[in-house]
Amino acid sequence: MSRLIGGTGTLWSKLGVLRAPLVVVLYSSDGAVDDLTAEIAFDTPGDDLLLTSLPVDLAEEPNRPLIVRLPLRDEDAAVQRLSLERDRLSTRAAPLVLLLQTEGAGMRALKKLPFLISFAQGRIVNLDALAVADPVEERRTFQEATGLTPEDFLLQRSNGQLPDDLDANLWAHRARTLVESSQ
Protein backbone atom coordinates (compact mmCIF):
# COMPACT_ATOMS: atom_id res chain seq x y z
CA MET A 1 0.00 0.00 0.00
CA SER A 2 1.14 3.51 -0.65
CA ARG A 3 1.50 5.99 2.13
CA LEU A 4 2.63 9.53 1.88
CA ILE A 5 4.92 10.98 4.47
CA GLY A 6 5.53 14.63 5.06
CA GLY A 7 3.60 17.49 3.61
CA THR A 8 3.25 18.10 -0.04
CA GLY A 9 6.12 20.56 0.15
CA THR A 10 8.35 17.69 1.19
CA LEU A 11 6.84 15.45 -1.41
CA TRP A 12 7.10 18.09 -4.06
CA SER A 13 10.79 18.56 -3.39
CA LYS A 14 11.35 14.80 -3.31
CA LEU A 15 9.72 14.53 -6.68
CA GLY A 16 12.26 17.04 -7.90
CA VAL A 17 9.69 18.42 -10.26
CA LEU A 18 11.66 21.49 -11.09
CA ARG A 19 14.75 19.62 -12.14
CA ALA A 20 13.53 17.34 -14.92
CA PRO A 21 11.17 17.80 -17.87
CA LEU A 22 9.44 14.54 -17.00
CA VAL A 23 8.77 13.02 -13.59
CA VAL A 24 7.21 9.57 -13.37
CA VAL A 25 5.35 8.79 -10.17
CA LEU A 26 4.41 5.16 -9.60
CA TYR A 27 1.42 4.36 -7.43
CA SER A 28 -0.06 1.09 -6.25
CA SER A 29 -3.60 2.10 -5.35
CA ASP A 30 -6.17 4.55 -6.61
CA GLY A 31 -6.59 5.95 -3.15
CA ALA A 32 -2.90 6.71 -2.83
CA VAL A 33 -2.83 8.70 -6.02
CA ASP A 34 -6.04 10.42 -4.99
CA ASP A 35 -4.21 11.48 -1.82
CA LEU A 36 -1.30 12.74 -3.84
CA THR A 37 -3.30 14.73 -6.34
CA ALA A 38 -5.57 16.14 -3.65
CA GLU A 39 -2.59 17.29 -1.60
CA ILE A 40 -0.80 18.79 -4.55
CA ALA A 41 -3.93 20.53 -5.76
CA PHE A 42 -4.56 21.91 -2.28
CA ASP A 43 -1.02 23.11 -1.65
CA THR A 44 -0.56 24.45 -5.15
CA PRO A 45 -3.85 26.20 -5.69
CA GLY A 46 -5.21 28.07 -8.61
CA ASP A 47 -3.03 28.75 -11.55
CA ASP A 48 0.15 27.10 -10.39
CA LEU A 49 -0.43 23.73 -11.99
CA LEU A 50 -2.66 21.83 -14.34
CA LEU A 51 -4.20 18.64 -13.08
CA THR A 52 -5.50 16.80 -16.05
CA SER A 53 -6.11 13.52 -17.78
CA LEU A 54 -5.95 12.78 -21.49
CA PRO A 55 -5.70 14.20 -24.05
CA VAL A 56 -2.53 15.97 -23.04
CA ASP A 57 -1.46 19.04 -24.93
CA LEU A 58 2.18 19.44 -24.04
CA ALA A 59 2.32 22.80 -25.79
CA GLU A 60 -0.36 24.21 -23.55
CA GLU A 61 0.72 26.31 -20.59
CA PRO A 62 4.41 25.40 -20.76
CA ASN A 63 5.17 27.30 -17.57
CA ARG A 64 2.80 25.35 -15.36
CA PRO A 65 3.58 21.87 -14.01
CA LEU A 66 1.32 19.43 -15.75
CA ILE A 67 0.16 16.47 -13.68
CA VAL A 68 -1.33 13.70 -15.75
CA ARG A 69 -3.05 10.59 -14.53
CA LEU A 70 -3.54 8.14 -17.34
CA PRO A 71 -6.66 5.96 -17.53
CA LEU A 72 -5.74 2.47 -16.38
CA ARG A 73 -7.20 0.64 -19.34
CA ASP A 74 -5.42 2.99 -21.72
CA GLU A 75 -2.07 3.48 -19.96
CA ASP A 76 -0.10 1.65 -22.62
CA ALA A 77 -1.62 3.51 -25.59
CA ALA A 78 -1.45 6.83 -23.78
CA VAL A 79 2.26 6.41 -23.11
CA GLN A 80 2.79 5.53 -26.77
CA ARG A 81 0.95 8.69 -27.83
CA LEU A 82 2.98 10.74 -25.40
CA SER A 83 6.14 9.30 -26.86
CA LEU A 84 5.19 10.64 -30.28
CA GLU A 85 5.07 14.14 -28.80
CA ARG A 86 8.13 13.76 -26.64
CA ASP A 87 10.07 16.54 -28.35
CA ARG A 88 7.57 19.02 -27.00
CA LEU A 89 8.74 18.17 -23.50
CA SER A 90 11.95 20.04 -24.15
CA THR A 91 9.98 23.19 -24.99
CA ARG A 92 8.26 23.18 -21.62
CA ALA A 93 9.64 25.26 -18.77
CA ALA A 94 7.59 23.32 -16.24
CA PRO A 95 7.66 19.55 -15.96
CA LEU A 96 5.15 16.92 -16.88
CA VAL A 97 4.37 14.72 -13.87
CA LEU A 98 3.10 11.41 -15.13
CA LEU A 99 1.20 9.21 -12.69
CA LEU A 100 1.47 5.53 -13.59
CA GLN A 101 0.43 2.35 -11.87
CA THR A 102 3.29 0.40 -10.35
CA GLU A 103 4.00 -2.57 -12.64
CA GLY A 104 1.18 -1.40 -14.89
CA ALA A 105 0.95 -1.42 -18.66
CA GLY A 106 2.08 2.19 -18.86
CA MET A 107 5.30 1.55 -17.00
CA ARG A 108 5.99 -1.53 -19.10
CA ALA A 109 5.47 0.55 -22.22
CA LEU A 110 7.66 3.33 -20.89
CA LYS A 111 10.56 0.92 -20.30
CA LYS A 112 10.49 0.15 -24.01
CA LEU A 113 10.66 3.84 -24.95
CA PRO A 114 14.17 4.97 -24.04
CA PHE A 115 13.84 8.33 -25.80
CA LEU A 116 10.80 9.22 -23.73
CA ILE A 117 12.14 7.85 -20.48
CA SER A 118 15.39 9.76 -20.93
CA PHE A 119 13.47 12.98 -20.31
CA ALA A 120 12.87 11.81 -16.77
CA GLN A 121 16.61 11.89 -16.05
CA GLY A 122 16.12 9.17 -13.50
CA ARG A 123 13.14 10.88 -11.90
CA ILE A 124 11.01 7.79 -11.40
CA VAL A 125 9.50 7.97 -7.95
CA ASN A 126 7.69 5.19 -6.16
CA LEU A 127 5.10 6.50 -3.71
CA ASP A 128 5.56 3.42 -1.56
CA ALA A 129 9.24 4.15 -1.12
CA LEU A 130 8.56 7.83 -0.42
CA ALA A 131 6.22 6.95 2.37
CA VAL A 132 8.54 4.82 4.44
CA ALA A 133 8.77 6.36 7.88
CA ASP A 134 12.23 7.08 9.24
CA PRO A 135 12.32 5.22 12.58
CA VAL A 136 15.27 7.24 13.88
CA GLU A 137 13.52 10.53 13.21
CA GLU A 138 10.21 9.17 14.51
CA ARG A 139 11.89 8.06 17.75
CA ARG A 140 13.65 11.41 18.15
CA THR A 141 10.38 13.28 17.65
CA PHE A 142 8.61 10.98 20.08
CA GLN A 143 11.20 11.43 22.83
CA GLU A 144 11.36 15.17 22.31
CA ALA A 145 7.60 15.46 22.70
CA THR A 146 6.99 13.03 25.53
CA GLY A 147 10.30 13.11 27.39
CA LEU A 148 10.30 9.32 27.40
CA THR A 149 11.53 6.51 25.22
CA PRO A 150 8.69 4.62 23.55
CA GLU A 151 9.51 1.64 25.78
CA ASP A 152 9.33 3.73 28.97
CA PHE A 153 6.18 5.44 27.75
CA LEU A 154 4.39 2.13 27.30
CA LEU A 155 5.69 0.87 30.63
CA GLN A 156 4.51 3.97 32.50
CA ARG A 157 1.20 3.80 30.71
CA SER A 158 0.61 0.19 31.65
CA ASN A 159 1.51 1.06 35.26
CA GLY A 160 -1.12 3.78 35.29
CA GLN A 161 1.50 6.53 35.62
CA LEU A 162 0.22 8.42 32.60
CA PRO A 163 -3.18 10.04 32.25
CA ASP A 164 -5.72 8.13 30.23
CA ASP A 165 -6.38 11.05 27.92
CA LEU A 166 -6.39 11.75 24.20
CA ASP A 167 -2.78 12.88 24.18
CA ALA A 168 -1.41 9.76 25.86
CA ASN A 169 -3.48 7.46 23.72
CA LEU A 170 -2.40 9.11 20.48
CA TRP A 171 1.27 8.86 21.44
CA ALA A 172 0.79 5.27 22.60
CA HIS A 173 0.10 4.12 19.06
CA ARG A 174 3.34 5.63 17.84
CA ALA A 175 5.19 4.11 20.79
CA ARG A 176 3.90 0.66 19.84
CA THR A 177 4.94 1.14 16.24
CA LEU A 178 8.43 2.23 17.30
CA VAL A 179 8.86 -0.59 19.78
CA GLU A 180 7.70 -3.16 17.25
CA SER A 181 9.96 -1.76 14.55
CA SER A 182 13.00 -2.01 16.81
CA GLN A 183 12.40 -5.65 17.70
Binding site: M1, G7, G31, A38, D165, W171, H173, R176
Partner: protein
Amino acid sequence: VNDPWSSWDAAVQTWAEGLSLKAGELSTQMRSVLNEAVAGGLCDRGAVHQIKWAGNELRVSPAANGKTVRGHPAYQLRNLASLEDGALLGFVVRVGPKGQLLSFTVGIEGALRTSGTPWSARIDLTEKPEGRGPCGHPVLHAHVGPDDKAGPVARVPIRLLPPDQALRWLLVTVHPALESTA
Protein backbone atom coordinates in the same frame (compact mmCIF):
# COMPACT_ATOMS: atom_id res chain seq x y z
CA VAL B 1 -20.91 -17.84 33.27
CA ASN B 2 -19.96 -16.58 29.85
CA ASP B 3 -18.11 -13.28 30.20
CA PRO B 4 -19.76 -10.89 27.73
CA TRP B 5 -16.67 -8.65 27.65
CA SER B 6 -14.31 -11.44 26.62
CA SER B 7 -16.60 -12.82 23.94
CA TRP B 8 -17.01 -9.32 22.53
CA ASP B 9 -13.23 -8.89 22.42
CA ALA B 10 -12.90 -12.03 20.33
CA ALA B 11 -15.56 -10.82 17.90
CA VAL B 12 -13.88 -7.43 17.57
CA GLN B 13 -10.46 -8.97 16.97
CA THR B 14 -11.85 -11.27 14.29
CA TRP B 15 -13.50 -8.27 12.62
CA ALA B 16 -10.38 -6.08 12.77
CA GLU B 17 -8.06 -8.81 11.53
CA GLY B 18 -10.43 -9.62 8.70
CA LEU B 19 -10.48 -6.13 7.28
CA SER B 20 -8.50 -5.40 4.17
CA LEU B 21 -7.97 -1.68 4.32
CA LYS B 22 -6.20 0.08 1.52
CA ALA B 23 -4.20 3.08 2.64
CA GLY B 24 -5.55 5.48 0.07
CA GLU B 25 -9.11 4.38 0.63
CA LEU B 26 -8.85 4.77 4.37
CA SER B 27 -7.47 8.28 4.09
CA THR B 28 -10.16 9.12 1.56
CA GLN B 29 -12.81 7.91 4.01
CA MET B 30 -11.34 10.02 6.80
CA ARG B 31 -11.13 13.02 4.47
CA SER B 32 -14.77 12.54 3.57
CA VAL B 33 -15.83 12.91 7.19
CA LEU B 34 -13.48 15.83 7.71
CA ASN B 35 -15.00 17.42 4.67
CA GLU B 36 -18.38 17.34 6.40
CA ALA B 37 -16.81 19.13 9.36
CA VAL B 38 -15.28 21.71 7.04
CA ALA B 39 -18.62 22.24 5.30
CA GLY B 40 -20.24 22.71 8.69
CA GLY B 41 -17.72 25.41 9.57
CA LEU B 42 -16.24 23.32 12.36
CA CYS B 43 -12.62 23.36 11.22
CA ASP B 44 -10.24 24.93 8.74
CA ARG B 45 -10.64 24.05 5.09
CA GLY B 46 -7.12 22.69 5.12
CA ALA B 47 -8.04 20.01 7.66
CA VAL B 48 -9.10 17.70 4.87
CA HIS B 49 -5.54 17.62 3.60
CA GLN B 50 -3.78 17.70 6.94
CA ILE B 51 -3.63 13.98 7.42
CA LYS B 52 -0.66 11.86 6.51
CA TRP B 53 0.60 8.33 6.45
CA ALA B 54 3.84 7.61 8.27
CA GLY B 55 4.78 3.98 7.96
CA ASN B 56 1.71 2.05 8.95
CA GLU B 57 0.07 4.97 10.77
CA LEU B 58 -2.46 7.43 9.47
CA ARG B 59 -2.29 10.56 11.60
CA VAL B 60 -3.27 14.18 11.75
CA SER B 61 -0.35 16.00 10.18
CA PRO B 62 1.80 18.55 12.03
CA ALA B 63 0.38 21.19 9.68
CA ALA B 64 -2.94 21.02 11.56
CA ASN B 65 -3.87 23.99 13.73
CA GLY B 66 -3.88 22.29 17.12
CA LYS B 67 -1.75 20.20 19.42
CA THR B 68 -2.43 18.05 22.45
CA VAL B 69 -0.63 18.69 25.73
CA ARG B 70 2.52 16.86 24.59
CA GLY B 71 2.33 18.23 21.11
CA HIS B 72 0.57 15.50 19.18
CA PRO B 73 -0.96 17.08 16.07
CA ALA B 74 -4.69 17.69 16.30
CA TYR B 75 -7.39 19.94 14.89
CA GLN B 76 -8.87 22.82 16.78
CA LEU B 77 -12.63 22.81 16.28
CA ARG B 78 -15.02 25.72 16.43
CA ASN B 79 -18.73 26.42 16.23
CA LEU B 80 -19.59 23.08 17.84
CA ALA B 81 -23.06 22.97 19.33
CA SER B 82 -21.88 21.41 22.58
CA LEU B 83 -18.27 22.43 23.09
CA GLU B 84 -16.51 25.73 23.32
CA ASP B 85 -14.28 26.83 20.46
CA GLY B 86 -10.83 25.33 20.65
CA ALA B 87 -11.89 21.75 21.35
CA LEU B 88 -9.29 19.31 20.04
CA LEU B 89 -9.90 16.48 17.62
CA GLY B 90 -7.14 13.94 17.08
CA PHE B 91 -6.69 10.49 15.61
CA VAL B 92 -4.19 7.79 14.80
CA VAL B 93 -4.98 4.62 12.86
CA ARG B 94 -2.52 1.72 12.59
CA VAL B 95 -2.91 -0.72 9.75
CA GLY B 96 -1.09 -4.02 9.29
CA PRO B 97 0.69 -5.18 6.15
CA LYS B 98 -2.37 -7.07 4.91
CA GLY B 99 -4.67 -4.14 5.53
CA GLN B 100 -5.89 -5.45 8.86
CA LEU B 101 -6.87 -2.85 11.41
CA LEU B 102 -4.31 -3.06 14.22
CA SER B 103 -5.44 -0.26 16.48
CA PHE B 104 -6.81 3.25 16.48
CA THR B 105 -7.75 6.20 18.62
CA VAL B 106 -10.16 8.91 17.61
CA GLY B 107 -11.00 11.49 20.24
CA ILE B 108 -12.34 14.91 21.05
CA GLU B 109 -11.51 16.95 24.15
CA GLY B 110 -12.97 20.28 25.05
CA ALA B 111 -15.17 22.20 27.46
CA LEU B 112 -18.94 22.24 27.58
CA ARG B 113 -20.53 25.45 26.34
CA THR B 114 -23.10 25.30 29.12
CA SER B 115 -20.70 25.15 32.07
CA GLY B 116 -17.10 25.19 30.89
CA THR B 117 -16.69 21.75 32.40
CA PRO B 118 -14.08 19.58 30.67
CA TRP B 119 -15.62 16.97 28.43
CA SER B 120 -14.08 14.26 26.31
CA ALA B 121 -15.09 11.35 24.17
CA ARG B 122 -12.73 8.88 22.61
CA ILE B 123 -12.93 5.59 20.79
CA ASP B 124 -9.99 3.23 21.14
CA LEU B 125 -9.25 -0.01 19.41
CA THR B 126 -6.35 -1.73 21.12
CA GLU B 127 -4.52 -4.88 20.13
CA LYS B 128 -5.45 -6.59 23.36
CA PRO B 129 -7.82 -5.83 26.22
CA GLU B 130 -6.42 -3.65 28.99
CA GLY B 131 -8.05 -4.71 32.21
CA ARG B 132 -11.18 -6.82 32.53
CA GLY B 133 -14.83 -6.36 33.25
CA PRO B 134 -17.14 -3.40 32.87
CA CYS B 135 -14.51 -0.85 33.94
CA GLY B 136 -11.65 -2.44 32.06
CA HIS B 137 -10.78 -1.60 28.51
CA PRO B 138 -12.15 -4.09 26.03
CA VAL B 139 -10.30 -3.97 22.73
CA LEU B 140 -12.91 -1.64 21.24
CA HIS B 141 -14.51 0.84 23.56
CA ALA B 142 -15.43 4.46 23.98
CA HIS B 143 -14.63 6.77 26.87
CA VAL B 144 -17.21 9.43 27.51
CA GLY B 145 -17.12 11.85 30.41
CA PRO B 146 -15.52 14.99 31.79
CA ASP B 147 -11.87 13.91 31.85
CA ASP B 148 -9.78 11.29 33.55
CA LYS B 149 -9.23 13.53 36.59
CA ALA B 150 -12.78 14.64 37.23
CA GLY B 151 -14.53 11.43 36.21
CA PRO B 152 -16.68 9.53 35.84
CA VAL B 153 -15.52 8.64 32.36
CA ALA B 154 -17.73 5.80 31.25
CA ARG B 155 -16.21 2.99 29.22
CA VAL B 156 -18.94 2.47 26.72
CA PRO B 157 -19.36 -0.67 24.65
CA ILE B 158 -19.59 0.30 21.05
CA ARG B 159 -20.49 -1.19 17.70
CA LEU B 160 -17.91 -2.33 15.18
CA LEU B 161 -17.03 1.12 13.95
CA PRO B 162 -14.16 1.56 11.52
CA PRO B 163 -12.10 4.70 12.10
CA ASP B 164 -14.02 6.95 9.73
CA GLN B 165 -17.34 6.00 11.29
CA ALA B 166 -15.87 6.49 14.75
CA LEU B 167 -14.77 9.96 13.68
CA ARG B 168 -18.21 10.71 12.33
CA TRP B 169 -19.91 9.43 15.49
CA LEU B 170 -17.81 11.70 17.66
CA LEU B 171 -18.40 14.77 15.52
CA VAL B 172 -22.13 14.18 15.38
CA THR B 173 -22.15 13.70 19.14
CA VAL B 174 -20.83 17.20 19.73
CA HIS B 175 -22.53 18.74 16.73
CA PRO B 176 -25.82 16.98 15.93
CA ALA B 177 -26.49 19.17 12.89
CA LEU B 178 -23.91 17.10 11.01
CA GLU B 179 -26.22 14.11 11.18
CA SER B 180 -28.69 15.73 8.85
CA THR B 181 -26.00 16.46 6.26
CA ALA B 182 -24.97 12.82 5.80
